[in-house]
Amino acid sequence: ATGTLMLSGCAGGFDDGGDAASGDTPTRIVAAIPTDPTSMDPIKSGALVVLSVFFHTFDQLVTITADGELAPKLATEWTANDDLTQWDFTLQEGVTASNGEAITAEDVAFSYQTILADPTGENFAYLSSVASVEAVDDLTVRFTLKSPFSAFPRNTSLISIVPADTYQEMGADAFAQAPIGSGPYLFDKIQTGVSYDLVRNDGYWGDAPAIESISLQPVSSDESRVNGVLSGSLDVAPIGPTQVESVEGQDSAQVFSALSNGVVFLGVNSTSGVLTDARIREAIGLAIDKEAITEGLLSGLAEPAATTLAPAVEGYSEDVTDPAYDPERARELLAEAGYAGEPIPFDYATDGRIPLSADVAQTIQASLEEVGITIDLRGADQQAHTLKVRGREMEGIYLNTWAPSTVDGDLPLTDLYEPAGNNNYAQDPRTAELAAEQRGVEGASRLDVFAELLSYSNEQGYYVPLYVPMNNYAADADLDWTPRADGLFDFTQTSFK
């Protein structure tokens, strides 16, 4: 009896549909995402990987384009008062959710208010500057902020708008099972951790995308993603830098590489042990040959970084530089500081966010030991590492990365330089002041503040910026697509050749 039971169990597990289209240009895209998305309820859920789903199925007030620019989405325009504490967004007319419910300012206000009501939600932190949200009229939403915030609209690109009545009727749990939005795609089938299937929303208010259906599938292993694309199981998948070369040689696939919005850097606990000495911190920066890492180890699929902001990110400035690779000078500084080989702990995560992190860490260890610094290399899995970062428990230097999903310098610099920031060991009041200051100014003057802050940070050696990695993708040879700097998927502009 067990046998038949299991057999029928398996049969139920398979869906019979293969690729719908055959012969003609495919209209279905299967994309791999590197981790399991969390809940499909956009009010509760805000982890990065889920946004690859939400960008398709929900509307956000604004959107950030592939090249990092701010663009209208549900909101057609937005304005702020003079001191940047009150923002009004004007909404698109005639937007309806897929079940017919009209999306108005009420729905926007509801979505934001619900998020703000729960400080334990994943999205709450993006709205920490918001004091209140209200619908001024059907098509106008007003945000009142606690303090000036010039880059506020970028944060709204992460918040999805749900149809308020439907959400309340269904309740959060039921909504997560069968979410309804107003985006260009509808949820077709959700198999948690297996696949998230979307179909085109023919009633979408905006431009109709070319692709008819999208399947997003979590695939955690790099090798599996490459092979998935090479064997045709996947149409597009993020891959690691070492795999780029092997995909490039294939006819059936192509590689997309684009500089990301993130920076890989060394965090430095400047309050601990020998690292309290600025000369030793400087020596660490001088001892690392960033070029060797980006060109040798990462096969040119990264660029050396001089600041903790990537070029794609608002706030980046070319003027900020850091001293070049100079092991001689590093040795001198160490000698000056009287460094006597005290071991410096070096934490890194063996897997997870930074591709080849173990190799990178080993290279850095070797360079530092080259100039006479003793390194105590400590690997851990990503989660343990994250907990340590978040608990501010690092005792020496550590490998970390920051990639702002808003593609704006505000998020990382808050975290790196403001008192509550997770990476801020120095607690330097000057950095905190500058980090707050940029929110109150706009345009060129804002960039100036950024530049000042980043230069000061480099001088003090609070962080050692290492490199800006590229996002690499293997994709079907016929795919016409532009990858985003933040590594998320948005297939609304995508098609097959």
Partner: protein, 291 residues
């Protein structure tokens, strides 16, 4: 593991008459051991020294790196030798820990039976139901992942196979007259356990241990696949294969060379261990007629 090992086929460690398989096995294992022992004596031995400009050299192209270099430009031959020492060392430790622990538990359960046996059954059930990998992840989250931790955790959780077999043997031995007889002459249980049970059980333990060597090498390498185990920059076969598979398309030797070492070791131990298993092949069921 082999529950079919009964007293009837008890492997009395017999006269040493090598079988062909055993010779092959010894040669395979010997190659690995020789490499492990001799390479560190070579002048160019440097498993850690990096040179990103000389990364991924193929084998037999540069006399300084006879087997080429890895992605960080480290000498592959040196790393293979170090990895062999690390992997074999870990494996042997783990196997010994489990063999001792498992046999002890099994012997006690088999000899005393009753509540002790029930308790041991429970513990082994829990051990089996608690996946080693989960245990390691959890423990590594508290402490740092390291070779020592892996040895400790695997060394304490892979004993159930030993316990099962030794339990059966000890239970069978307990009923043997030669075990009862010292008791009637005034001996206590310790006497019987140390003089009669343990010496009659250990040949079986030895056989399981021999087959287990392979299993443990594979488990540790699978754990390294998950980032648990030996920490970089110290290599192990498992981590070398794992790192190497990223370069499988362009530079396959990075994965294949440590894979070959693994093959030699696992195959070697396996063929050697067959030396010990009693060859009760064929029996009456042999083919043919009168001849």
């Amino acid at each position: 593991m082999t529950t079919s090992l009964t007293l009837a086929t008890a492997p009395v460690v017999q006269r040493w008459r090598p079988r062909p398989g055993a010779i092959v096995g010894a040669l395979m294992l010997g190659t690995v051991l020789l490499l492990t022992a001799l390479v560190p004596l070579l002048p160019g031995y440097d498993p850690m020294g990096q040179d990103l400009r000389a990364a991924l050299l193929p084998p037999f192209t540069d006399p300084a790196h006879p087997l080429g270099t890895d992605a960080l430009g480290r000498d592959l031959l040196s790393r293979l030798a170090l990895a062999s020492a690390v992997t074999l060392g870990m494996t042997v430790l783990i196997v010994i820990m489990n063999a001792v622990l498992g046999s002890l538990v099994g012997i006690l359960a088999g000899y005393y039976g009753g509540r002790l046996e029930a308790l041991i059954t429970l513990v082994s059930n829990v051990t089996l139901a608690m996946p080693v990998v989960l245990l390691l992840i959890a423990i590594c989250a508290v402490l740092r992942p390291s070779a020592g931790l892996t040895i400790l955790v695997l060394g304490c959780t892979w004993w159930v196979g030993y316990a099962r077999v030794t339990r059966n043997i000890a239970a069978a031995l307990r009923r043997q007259d030669f075990v009862v007889s010292p008791l009637t002459q005034g001996a206590d249980s310790v006497w019987v356990l140390t003089r009669h049970i343990v010496p009659n059980v250990w040949p079986h333990t030895l056989i399981i241990a021999a087959t287990d060597v392979a299993t443990i090498v594979l488990i540790t390498s699978s754990l390294e696949y998950l980032g648990l185990g030996v920490q970089p920059p110290v290599p192990s076969w498992g981590s070398m294969i794992f790192d190497g598979q990223r370069h499988l398309a362009g530079d396959p030797w990075l994965a294949l060379l440590p894979g070959l070492m693994l093959l030699l070791a696992v195959g070697g131990v396996q063929f050697l261990s067959q030396q010990f298993t009693a060859e009760t092949r064929g029996g009456l069921l042999r083919k043919g007629g009168m001849r």
